[in-house]
């Protein structure tokens, strides 16, 4: 895929990046006790047809009156016509989103940021290692790769949550298992839980993927990423083989408001996707 970045830049510069497009909430899926997934569809029919994005990119969603917040696009551009994003209830805007019902109007500014270099990954095995709400950006690239299944080698996912009830995207597990491996783990099981019990980094060591021709993508709480990274290194992975998405507070999404810089890099325009080779050069402030 080739993108005329200069042309893209000119087009973007003539737009007003602060104006949201109106979208209707078509579907709300209650994933867990504190997380919901929203499917939105643009009101503008033309935009519904032309809007596209890349796995790993993010959007700014407005609940008018409450404000705007940043969410990664959790759906895949291979499934056109709508976008999905998952929201954990933590503050004012996420509260307001959780209070919405199907049919509500929201504002969407998208897509922003860079994306997973899936072109470079062709022919390789992929290991997705996610924890908690960190599964959201990985769901986008995972479904994208599953929709382009023949481009990739083995695909495996380790997904952990605190309890079985905290696992998101349960409806899709069977679908994922058809053409890829899915390893679930929880910190604490319940009487019905038959899967693994333990933290994600430890489970990774149990499964011990070999690093040859493998890309590892990890996303989750900072403490999980820290130990996943340590363990991947122990398994022989190089920094260039490991990718993550960084999360920072954002307001504008377009490199102006000044909150999401890590040293010279702005997560909103230089990220949110980084390889660990790139992260190593960043100051430790994320």
């Amino acid at each position: 895929m080739s993108i005329d970045t200069e042309q893209m830049k000119i087009e973007m510069q003539t737009q007003n990046p602060y104006l949201p497009q109106l979208a209707v909430v078509e579907k709300i899926i209650k994933e867990t006790w504190d997380t919901k997934t929203f499917r939105t569809v643009f009101l503008d029919e033309g935009l519904r047809e032309t809007f596209t994005y890349e796995p790993g990119q993010f959007q700014e969603v407005s609940v008018f009156g409450a404000g705007e917040s940043t969410f990664c696009l959790a759906s895949t551009p291979t499934r056109q016509g709508y976008v999905e994003f998952s929201v954990k209830r933590v503050g004012v805007v996420t509260d307001a989103l959780h209070d919405l019902s199907e049919g509500s109007i929201v504002g969407v500014r998208a897509p922003f940021g860079n994306w997973f270099p899936y072109e470079e990954w062709k022919g390789k095995d992929l290991w997705f290692i996610g924890g908690g709400i960190g599964m959201a950006p990985m769901r986008s690239i995972l479904n994208f790769c599953l929709d382009n299944r023949s481009d990739y080698g083995e695909i495996a996912t380790i997904y952990g949550a605190r309890t079985p009830g905290d696992l998101c995207y349960k409806d899709e597990f069977d679908e994922w298992r058809k053409t890829s491996a899915l390893y679930l783990t929880v910190d604490a099981g319940d009487e019905n839980w038959l899967g693994n019990v333990g933290f994600v980094p430890a489970y990774l060591m149990d499964l011990a993927p070999k690093p040859e021709n493998v890309i590892a993508i990890t996303c989750g709480p900072p403490i999980m990423i820290k130990f996943v990274l340590q363990n991947l290194k122990e398994l022989g992975f190089q920094d260039e083989q490991i990718y993550t998405t960084l999360e920072m507070k954002m307001k504008c999404g377009v490199g102006k408001c000044g909150r999401c810089n890590i040293g010279t890099k702005f997560v909103c325009i230089d990220g949110p996707v980084f390889s660990f080779a790139e992260i190593k050069d960043l100051p430790p402030e994320f």
């Binding site: 705007e68 503050g91 999360e247 507070k249």
Partner: protein, 341 residues
Amino acid sequence: MADKVIAKTDLRKWLAGMAADHDVIAPIGREAGPATWKDINGTQDIDITANQMVMAAKEFLLPVHDVLFRFHTRKGEERLEVPDLTNKSTVMIGLRLCDVRAISVLDAVYYNQGPFRDAYYAARRDKLALVAAVCDDPRWSCFCTTVGDLKEWKLGADVLITDLGDKIYVQPVTEKGEGLLQGDFFSSPSEDDVRKKSEVWANLLALPKRPFAGKDISKIVSWDDPVWEEQARKCIGCGICTFMCPTCSCFDIQDETTGSVIERYRCRDTCQFSDFTMMGAGHNPRPEKKMRVRQRVLHKFKYQVEQFDLIGCTGCGRCVESCPVNIDIRGIVSHIAAEPL
């Protein structure tokens, strides 16, 4: 483009002439506080060489309350209303060279950085002409010559004016600037005028430089320098340094509801507040004051140097002057450069 002079008694005529097809804004002082940029439209006398602190030019380019749009919520009539950005062309008169430089820094962020241009900033900037005054009486906090080359900075202005006592020496820098110099009250400068103007300019360039001048601290600065903690202990975490800074432009975006209309606006925000980077779920990448102190200094002296090849500090001295606990950015940079203040 030819230099001109204008008698101070004719200044008002010039301003009134410009006001016919421009908004003319100039710093208007009051007894207390810094002078603020007011629409004068040629009806007020201005003292272009007043030594009073002036609010930074960002007051115009990035207003403290900047409406992005209004959303009308009435059921079935939902729509966005965007403010009219086709504003009148504006002349800012009375900026200093540090202010001109500051606009170059803001241009780098709001006009040229990354794939997006800031539509609101650009609309104002596109129609803005800068008439800058050459300082003949620097303030105690000034250190412009230490952080930059005034000969380069002045190219960012459209017109340069120099106070010669009873007259003003006027130099067009750009064609846009030359277009502003219309009227029979302009005359050609005498040799004496030229000499006097050159003296003022030479005096300004001779403003003593701090020993750290010319040292690029972006390459030598240490992330763990004890200076961050030392300064952070004094720092009370107010935002004055950034609010007054001509290049600090970080903002917040907020919604405010009145009846069925929701206004979305941006307002100033600052890296000095811990809430600035605090995420909804409670994680804060800059939880400690020393990190925030470091962010302010490094943003100007390292990050922007690496991003745009320009120092984000213009040496205007506003933060030095306003800090209630005397945190002096000149001292911090001197320390990093291992030079005396």
